[in-house]
């Protein structure tokens, strides 16, 4: 490590040398960048600062450099060099090098922004930037005010998300409470779920097993949890009827969870002795090997009912077509939009997206859960209102070709603040595009 005075001497000598060299060779130095502004990144944990500067006059990517093509070749900016020093370490011990100017980054020509993510919360930093020409000549430095990154307690850019969440959660909580008070709630019939009992019943009559596939996702996916809920009901019905249930799984954790679910269901049905843990078994994590295993079972054992509830991918059609071939009653439920058409084409009943998630509330018959469904509907109504309002305002703007006014302000507010990341902000204030880089 250099001592600080040698460093300064070095800088002086190099500056003097570069000055002499350029004077001798009549080379022009690149113009420096200007207006370096360093701010603490808002809404963060105090671990980054943002640097913005105005491009050099000899940067050919500078839109203000109108004579870009005439710029002296030796002065054309190739990069910007950014240096930093720590002026206050908030009581911590510092390396000597850190309290001197040190190069921390380099930005390409045309770039006017950099985020320093290597800062410590509460420390104070100085920054400076210079442009470096094609020949390696540096311009004079452009300095900035010192900055001290601090932590914010709440991420204000997500305030609208929090508001939406509270409204949505509020609806659900209100209707759960409403249901608790004993008032009746009506839910429309979901044919696919009604069909499950019929399917299990038929399997019992035919003396053949019921196959249940909980998708191929892991237990941390919400669709797998929704699938387990339906499994719980199917297992209970099977236990009551005395039918066999077979549950091959694609993930070990799902196998463990499914065993718990089925065991509890058998217990609840008063038939704990009929529970056979080995019928709930892990096959493989590999998607198509799993399909091969399950379809192999289907062709050999010919289950009378095949129920698919969970997250599925390309295997959906292979499973459902094989089930169709063996003549099983098939009920499917998934929230994978791309797989829905295949299930609809090949199964007797399909729970589409939301219906699948509503299954647990529907099947339980528990008023609290049904209340949450009602709350969900109001949340949906609220979302549709915003959607319609947005479409309405956007249509007005596009029909009237107006570029300012109440409508434009409202649309900008919806786009940038409510759906974007500008937080509460001020109405009619910002008009920045949420896509930033694309614009």
């Amino acid at each position: 490590m250099k001592k600080s005075h040698t460093f300064y001497i070095g800088v002086f000598v190099s500056l003097a040398y570069s000055g002499v060299a350029s004077a001798l060779s009549f080379e022009t130095l690149p113009e420096p960048p200007t207006n370096l502004v360093v701010i603490d990144t808002p809404d963060d944990a105090g671990n980054s600062v943002e640097l913005d500067w105005a491009l050099s006059g000899t940067d050919i990517f500078n839109p203000l450099n109108e004579n870009a093509s005439d710029t002296d070749p030796s002065a054309i900016v190739s990069t910007y060099s950014i240096e930093r020093k720590i002026s206050d370490a908030n009581g911590s011990e510092l390396d000597e090098a850190d309290s001197n100017w040190q190069k921390v980054s380099e930005a390409g020509a045309g770039e006017s922004h950099w985020t320093d993510r290597t800062v410590e919360r509460g420390w104070t930093y100085d920054y400076r930037i210079c442009s470096v020409g094609n020949q390696g000549d540096s311009s004079i430095w452009c300095d900035a005010e010192p900055v001290t990154p601090v932590m914010q307690m709440f991420n204000m850019s997500k305030v609208w998300l929090a508001i939406f969440m509270l409204i949505f959660g509020g609806f659900i909580a209100y209707y759960i409470n409403y249901a608790r008070s004993g008032k009746p709630l009506w839910v429309r019939k979901i044919a696919g779920l009604e069909a499950i009992d019929e399917a299990v019943g038929r399997a019992t009559e035919m003396g053949r097993p019921v196959l249940f596939v909980i998708g191929i996702q892991d237990i941390n996916e919400i669709q797998t949890l929704a699938g387990l809920t339906v499994l719980s009901r199917v297992a209970k019905t099977a236990a009551e009827y005395g039918a066999q249930i077979e549950v091959p799984t694609c993930r070990s954790l799902v196998m463990a969870a499914a065993r718990e679910t089925v065991e509890a269901a058998y217990l609840a049905a008063g038939a704990p002795d009929a529970y056979q843990p080995d019928r709930i078994h892990y096959l493989t994590d590999e998607q198509f090997a799993f399909v091969a295993g399950v379809t192999g079972y289907m062709v050999r054992e010919e289950p009378a009912a095949c129920i698919y509830m969970g997250g599925f991918y390309a295997e959906s059609l292979i499973l459902a077509e094989t089930g169709n071939h063996i003549g099983a009653i098939q009920v499917a439920g998934t929230a994978m939009p791309s797989q829905l058409p295949f299930f609809v084409a090949s199964c007797d009943y399909t729970l589409i997206g939301e219906e699948f998630f509503a299954a647990s509330a529907y099947l339980s018959g528990d008023p609290l859960q049904i209340g949450s469904l009602k709350g969900q509907d109001y949340g949906k109504f609220f979302s549709v209102l915003i959607l319609v309002a947005g479409i309405f305002i956007a249509s007005i703007i596009s029909l009237s070709h107006s570029e300012e006014g109440l409508a434009v302000d409202s649309l900008n507010y919806i786009k940038n603040n409510m759906l974007g990341s500008e937080g509460l902000g001020s109405f009619g204030g910002g008009d920045t595009d949420i896509e930033g880089d694309d614009s």
Binding site: S105, E106, R117, A314
Partner: protein
């Protein structure tokens, strides 16, 4: 006759599909390709970047969808190589790294002037899917300390100055499912405004179109779009047109045409049976 058709063994359907695919493959039938505006969006996203731009290529598919996605992935690799972009490869699927290796083989055999570590490199495989994306948008080394050969990123010329993938000029994602394009859009493209294009399977494509143009700069859906993309590259860089390996997707359009025609034939046949039997049922 109607009875025979009604109870037709599905194996006859299978056989006809086999022939529909096999005959054009064996006959090497190639049809002309019309380039759609959707494909041009993807092509331009890569073409318009200045030479030496940093491109992250995440190949999130496995051998199962290799037939549908590999030609597209290879076309991305060739296009980036011709343009002289810096290519950073990674894979989110456990069986994805070998797919990347196929692209690296292509670079080594067709563009021997490109140097590993300076023009292209491959990150080590890390499990975690979307968690990997979320981490590398903030801190690349927090997830990948090494490249796939075990070399530290600080020792590789093209990675030593990269802090996170916000430093990339473009993300190209070839995706067969989750984690894939959806996660790249949710955790990288949208929050950080990193321009992203996607190549995905036909089944996924309808889900990806809603992201255009703000969250995705373009989507290539299945083999048809891959063929168009190959044609777009051929037009601008005629030298590549003579490379038979760079025409894989176009070759696959032949079987696709015949197979699709067969499907339409089957649907029509199915409906004729349906209507005739309904009429007789009523009569």
């Amino acid at each position: 006759m109607l009875k025979i058709l009604q109870n037709i063994d599905r194996r006859w359907v299978f056989l006809s599909m086999l022939l529909a695919v096999a005959i054009p493959v064996l006959a090497k039938t190639v049809f002309p390709v019309n380039i759609s505006p959707q494909t041009m969006m993807v092509f331009n996203a890569i073409e318009d970047l200045p030479e030496g731009s940093r491109i992250l290529l995440s190949y999130d598919f496995d051998p199962a969808s290799q037939g549908e996605l590999l030609p597209m992935a290879q076309a991305f690799t060739r296009h980036c190589s011709i343009k002289g972009h810096k290519q950073y490869y990674m894979a989110l699927w456990p069986l994805g790294p070998p797919m990347v290796d196929l692209s690296i083989d292509t670079i080594e055999s067709e563009y021997p002037n490109l140097v590993y570590g300076e023009d292209y490199m491959k990150f080590d495989y890390k499990t975690g899917g979307e968690a990997v994306i979320r981490m590398i948008t903030q801190d690349l080394r927090g997830m990948f300390e090494l490249d796939s050969k075990g070399v530290s990123l600080d020792e590789i010329p093209m990675t030593k100055n990269i802090k996170n993938i916000q430093d990339m000029d473009l993300i190209i994602n070839v995706s067969a499912g989750d984690p894939g394009t959806k996660q790249w859009v949710q955790f990288a493209a949208t929050p950080f405004g990193i321009t992203t294009v996607s190549g995905c399977t036909g089944v996924q494509a309808p889900q990806m179109y809603p992201y255009i143009p703000e969250q995705l700069a373009g989507v290539l859906g299945a083999i048809k779009a891959a063929a168009e993309y190959e044609a777009a590259i051929d037009e601008v860089y005629p030298s590549i047109a003579s490379n038979p390996k760079a025409q894989e997707a176009k070759r696959r359009m032949g079987p696709q045409l015949v197979a699709h025609s067969l499907m339409i034939g089957l649907i029509i046949l199915g409906n004729i049976i349906f209507f005739v039997s309904r009429k007789r049922g009523l009569a």
